[in-house]
Amino acid sequence: MAGSGHAPLRDDRDDILIRVKDLVMEFPAGGGKVVHAVSGVTFDVAEGETLGLVGESGSGKSTTAKAVIQLPRPTSGSVWFRGQELTELKGEALRKVRPELQMIFQDPISSLNPRRKVSDVVGEGIRVWGGSTDGQFTEARINEILEAVGLDPKIAGERYPHEFSGGQAQRISVARSLVLDPKVIVCDEPVSALDVSVQAQILNLLEDMKERYGLTLLFISHDLSVVKNISDRVAVMYLGKLCEISPSDELYANPAHPYTRALLGAIPEPDNPLAAEAETLSGELPSPITPPPGCRFHTRCKYATDKCREDEPQMEEIRPDHFVACWHPVITDNPVTIKAS
């Protein structure tokens, strides 16, 4: 998959918050070899939007989202955020932008310092950013945020992370990410370690916080049902390339890329109409050190032809706001419905 080209950019809109162009992320692999983790990804995110990133392990979804917030800086490409080119910002200038870009991690317990009280964990950002001149403000802000995420500040603030369940600890992580009033939160598999009953609590909380604080989310998950639920748009990645990007209802109803169709077909629902598409997804993910030429997905794709093995497909708009990078996209007039059991 190929997924290069600037077609998915919505330059006609004036509410674009993040614009990522030709993002490349490479890591040295020893012996002069290079891991091509992300290879030329282009997309944008509008203000208040949630962009879901899906793909198998090794697809580059986490690397992409982290490169957007310059953790670490991308190898090349452009990340534009509210009028500034983040890849060109240095030192203090970049530090000044950081409070606007926050992150929530997968494992709620290990992402909290076990030796510090919850109020210190949540309030650290304010102290670092100079809120400590007015201790009253700091405390009021911590209490407000803890209450917003559904924790009683009087009880929770004085406790330590190990005293909380996974779901509660993830609420604390959400509180910590919100305390500096950010614009963007990168959520890296925030519900994957939680039980389903608690997962729903955290997903609802993220929706509420997004509404209340006007957040824009980059949401990474391997669970396609979760991504559909929370996202406005969904981007499907494979081996460092973008395959398909579209509004989420559209993507799930009219998946056009063979890889998207295989992913949807693998959802464990009895009578999944796309189950046969997942069958074809045989073999292993090729090595990101020597990615296949042409469309990167051709080694596992049942529709692959010689063209796919030689030329890289570009992103094209196949329906309004629905972009696919594939030489043989599946375009039908019959939307797919995957029924729940």
Binding site: E56, S57, G150, L151, D152, I155, A156, S165, G166, G167, Q168, R171, D195, V196, S197, V198, Q199, A200, Q201, L203, N204, E207, H222, D223, L224, S225, V226, K228, N229, I230, S231, D232, S248, D249, Y252, A262, L263, L264, G265, A266, I267, P268, E269, P270, A275, A278, L281, E284, L285, T337, I338, K339, A340, S341
Partner: protein, 352 residues
Amino acid sequence: MSEPQLKVEDLRVAFATPRGSVQAIDGLNISLEQGETLAIVGESGSGKSVTVRTVMNLLPSTASIEGNITFDGLDLRNVPKDRAKHLWGVDVAMIFQDPMTSLNPVKRIGSQITESMRYHLKYSKGQAKAKAIELLTQVGIPEPEKRMRQYPHELSGGMRQRVVIAMALACEPKLLIADEPTTALDVTVQKHILDLLGELQRERGMSMILITHDLGVAGGRADQIAVMYAGRIMEEAPASTIFSSMRHPYTEALFESIPSVSDPSHTRLTPIPGRPPDLLNLPTGCRYAARCRYAQVSCTEALPSLESIGTNHSVACYLPVGSSAAIDARAQNEAAGVTAAGLDLHSNMEIL
């Protein structure tokens, strides 16, 4: 009807901890026929893994076990020593969640697969090697001869889990226990592994206990589904009926809390409020009462037992979903805004 292959009767497992006794399993019954698949579904801490570890005889010495477990007429709690040596790993085998930690990182794949055949079945080196290659082919590993000489770190997660399955099948088990076999894997790999397990099971007429927290996985792969909560089975039913006629409020709530691919995006989810009870300090009545929308005073006073309500369908609840008593109870709780167990139905504040 013949005697079931695996029978667990009134199993109780408690662990001694510095803070007191943790009652992990509290009165559990399982009956599994030859060739059948039972899925045990439940949240972390519900006791599903402890249940199968008891069957596998893998519990630590701090566990105190009560109750009966019979497998093929054999009392698993008192197995004669010479039989024990060739029982677990041979007749009853298990696959664990994380394929990396269940393989030895410093031994080649080949020697790990052949080890059990050499020991239990007294195969010669050549026989064991031939069988191992055959097994690797069966579980869908390309170039099995080459893989035999590799180490676990040279294989992807999906491949490692296939190796683990091949190891478990090496001695032709009659019962296979799979403890969250696909949780650590990608969805695409998950499907392949589950399809593979299903095929192997049909071919060999093997019985299987599948532990999962994913109701979708359970629904597609099992004959019978048991929903566990705080060490007890709340509801048990055939996979074909549990989704259409679930009767326990916990099953219902668990089902409602899962985002569905068929719903449009931003559909509001219905979480289960609160969290599971502390196993050190269990409530007197129903374990689920504190989080239940239907709870009445009777629910907090005595523990409901698992009662049969249809073919292979049983439920442990005084107010099964859909009954008129349940509808009245819920209406009454909604009107009061609070249940008899003290659950505030309109607050989204986390209870600390």
